[in-house]
């Protein structure tokens, strides 16, 4: 089945220690997104790629970066994680961004910062 895969499912890091989260997709979608979801809160868009074009949300902290080396993979880098960055990180994909295309989500990576 075509799907969105996130690794690892659980990640523990130390305060200030860089961490990378991974997302891959077999849907061959053009657009990939990263959302942050804190406990009992709504998912919040951090940034997205339309093909190789990177689009950052205005209120996404500089501490968060992303890379998309090819169509299938996208990475979320947190350069110096703080306690407030503990959250579920959700990767999503959509076929296009010119219409109201459905976004399909992966299972998420739960990040714990010690």
């Amino acid at each position: 089945d075509a799907m969105v895969i996130q690794n690892p499912r659980y990640q523990v890091t130390q305060f200030g220690k860089p961490v990378t989260l991974s997302c891959s997709q077999t849907l061959n979608h053009n657009v990939m997104y990263w959302y942050q979801q804190k406990s009992s809160q709504a998912p919040k868009l951090l940034f997205h790629y339309y093909d190789k074009d990177f689009n950052n949300e205005a209120d996404t902290p500089d501490n968060f970066q992303s890379r998309r080396p090819n169509t299938s993979f996208c990475f979320l880098d947190i350069r110096s994680p703080g306690l407030g960055d503990a959250a579920m990180y959700l990767c999503a994909t959509s076929r296009d961004n010119r219409v109201a295309d459905t976004q399909y989500f992966g299972p998420g990576t739960r990040l714990t910062v010690l």
């Binding site: 997205h48 109201a100 989500f105």
Partner: protein, 111 residues
């Protein structure tokens, strides 16, 4: 700024007791309204997309409806396996494909 408000925050139903979840939204121009189901510790699972007022979509025990200011997710004769958090999200024509989510309604169905 786009806003999405879901009510109630939590809902407890007995198996077979039908009810509705509400999603009120404010956008410049609606591109689409999306309903997702999220189980604990998992990513949101797509349910429906609604594009214009008056539109309705159904899937098993779920039916989603849309007006110019709100959407309802009707659950008919729910079962315990329908227990989950239901998320509503909107896309605004002004902001492209960005999804703005509500905080969700936590549904618990007891047998």
């Amino acid at each position: 700024e786009d806003q999405v408000t879901q009510s109630p925050e939590a809902l407890r139903l007995q198996e077979g007791e039908s009810s509705s979840l509400n999603c009120s939204y404010t956008v410049s121009g609606l591109r689409g309204l999306f309903w997702y189901r999220q189980d604990p510790g998992k990513g949101p699972e797509f349910l429906f997309t609604l594009y214009s007022a008056g539109e309705e979509k159904e899937k098993e025990r779920l039916k989603a409806t849309l007006t110019k200011k709100e959407s309802f997710l009707h659950i008919t004769a729910p079962k315990p396996e329908d227990s989950a958090t239901y998320l509503c999200a909107v896309q605004d024509m002004e902001y492209g494909n960005k999804l703005v989510f509500g905080a969700g309604t936590i549904l618990r169905v007891k047998s």
